[in-house]
Structures are given as C-alpha cells and as structure tokens.
C-alpha cells in the first residue's frame, strides 16, 4: 500500500483514546503511548511503601513484583554494604536518591544516625581549670561542621552513653548532657565491646550504596506509575461481544481487525490481564 494512502487512513482514524480499534492497535504495538489517568490515593500509598499504590489500584501482581524489586535492592544494598550505605549526613547526595524508597529509607537513616553513631568527643584534662572528662562546646557539636559531630565508630571503639560537659555560647555557660560518645574499646582489662556497626569501605560500600540508590530511583518510577496509571484495555468489554457471537451463529462475521474481530478481543484481554 502506498505511504500516502496509509497517511490518509491514519488521518481518518478516530482520535478517541478509549476507542476499541485504537486500543487494539496499541496492544499490538507496545511502543505507542497509552493514555494516562490520575490516582492520588494510589500515589500516596506508593510513597508510603513500595508497591502499595498498585495494590490499592487492584493490581496485586504488579504490586508484589514492584515490592520484590525495590525492597530486594534496598535490603540487598544494606546486606552488602551494611547500614552504612544509608547515611543522610556523610553520603547526602546518595541519600537524596535513596529517599524515594519512602519511610523505610528515612527509618533506616534515623536508626543509623541516632542509634549507631556517636560523638567523637575526647576525654581531656584541663590543667588550668582542673576540669576533667568529656569537654566540648555547642559549636564543636555542630552536626555538619563541628569536629565532635556524630560519626561512625572505628574498629577499636565502642559506643557508650556518658555525661558530657558542654560549654554554651560566648560566656561559656556550663551544662551537663548525656550523649553517645565513641570511647576506646581497648582498656587495661582487655577489649570491651565493639562498634555497633562496621564502616563500609571500597567496592562493597559502593555497590551497596548503588543498590539502595537504584531502589530509590526504581521506586520513583513505581510511584509515578501509581499516581499516573496507564489506562490499559479491559477484558470485560470484549466478553459480551464474544458471547453474543456464540449465541447467534447466523450473525455475519466481522471484518479482520475490526472491533468485533475475535482476535482483537483476545488481544484486548491479554493487554489488560492482571490479577
């Protein structure tokens, strides 16, 4: 068929996205874009947990597969590189991508920051004032730039809650706080304890971080698909037509490729089959 005729026929086709003939064509040609809808509750659910949006939309198989993929990558990353791969302070640019996994990523980061890290405050003795112990100031405890900010522990350290003397402001007002501090694990009595988690280094840390980042990026796709779901042809529309054909054999056969064609109906069923 000449290209001009094909072009003219394409102009004559109905532009309605819900038209069955158009849908059957799209089913046969997966590279064409299908129409999209808007489902805000499903989008919110997808943000809360990977795959929950599709589950709410009534697509449990897609939900399970999406959850397996995203959670497998996120937990796999933590299994490979340890919880050190989720760190909003030391690897903040990576965490921006990992955060798309949802509350799970924020929970893991919170646990890492508040239950595993410790302040690097040294035990000192001031000969002039006679002060002794863990001494620091508000400025030195700054979580971003302070020299005594919370950090991962070294292999020869352990985490311990101790009383720290903090000097506040220019006047040096003294107050005592109980803070987690990195203290030496090796004492005169021998080694006592170990760091609560291991610091990831080298390739294993990179691969673990990459796993968790890919989990976040893929979950962004899952969230967008739940929020703007692809409207796929449904199998229910084809069923009455096929049954009508069986009930009335004297009815003339539909033209090949037309909406009444049983092959088109079968194609619609495959395209919309889920759950």
């Amino acid at each position: 068929m000449p290209p001009v005729v094909l072009a003219m026929r394409s102009l004559e086709r109905p532009r309605d996205p819900t038209d069955p003939a158009r849908m059957s064509e799209q089913t046969r040609q997966p590279h064409q874009h299908l129409p999209h809808g808007l489902d805000v509750p499903a989008g919110v659910c997808a943000m809360l947990f990977p795959g929950l949006g599709h589950f709410v939309r009534g697509e449990p198989r897609r939900a399970i597969y999406a959850a397996i993929g995203v959670l497998g990558m996120f937990l796999g990353g933590m299994l490979i590189g340890g919880i050190d791969t989720i760190d909003s302070r030391e690897d903040k640019w990576w965490f921006y991508g990992q955060a798309f996994v949802g509350p799970l990523a924020f929970g893991a980061d919170w646990y890492h920051q508040h239950q595993l890290k410790a302040y690097g405050i040294p035990y000192v003795r001031n000969e002039n004032t006679g002060d002794e112990g863990y001494l620091t100031s508000d400025r030195e405890l700054d979580p971003v730039r302070g020299p005594h900010r919370p950090r991962s522990l070294y292999p020869h350290e352990r985490r311990e809650m101790v009383e720290v003397t903090v000097f506040r402001g220019p006047g040096g007002k003294r107050e005592t706080r109980t803070l987690p501090v990195a203290v030496p694990a090796n004492t005169d009595a021998g080694e006592v304890g170990a760091p609560p988690n291991g610091k990831g280094i080298a390739k294993v840390n990179e691969i673990g971080t990459l796993y968790a980042l890919c989990a976040g990026m893929l979950n962004l796709i899952v969230i967008l698909d739940a929020l703007f779901p692809t409207i796929r042809p449904k199998a229910k529309k084809a069923a009455p037509r096929a049954s009508a054909d069986r009930d009335n054999p004297a009815q003339p056969k539909p033209a090949p490729g037309s909406p009444g064609d049983p092959r088109v109906a079968a194609g619609e069923k495959e395209g919309g089959a889920d759950a």
Binding site: A66, G69, I80, G200, V204, C214, A215, R232
Partner: protein, 83 residues
Amino acid sequence: MPDPVAVLAWRPFLDPIDLHDAWFWLLIPLALLIAIAYKAVRVPDIANFWRQTLLFSAQIILGIVGLFAAALVTLNVILPFWV
C-alpha cells in the same frame, strides 16, 4: 578466601559483607532486581512478565560487559598506542 572468624562475626545489615574480591558478581542480582521492578510497572501484559524480565536483565548484563570490553580496549590498546 574470607577469614572464617570474620564470617562468623558478621552481623547482617550492620556490617558490610566481605566480597571485595568478587564484587562484580553482585551486578547480576542488581540487573535482575532492576528488571523486576521496572517491568512490574511497564510490561503491557503481566502474563509475559518473567520473559520480559529475563530479557531485560540479559540486556543490562550484556551492556555492562560491553562497556567493560570497550573500556578494556580503550585503556590497554588504544590509549597506549595513541599517547
């Protein structure tokens, strides 16, 4: 060969796993998981899910191997010859 004592002392999800010598094998499950998550939402017919997933995984792995080969040739053959 990993140290047996280190393996016994390993705490899952807290300590990094000792696979520094075999890290590149970890790209295979990564490719598979990426394909599972992506095809879960993009495959038009969920009945074809596993076939599409395996095909996409193979494409990712072949792409990585191709990049590795290209980098190997560039660094070991082309650049020494050129510089």
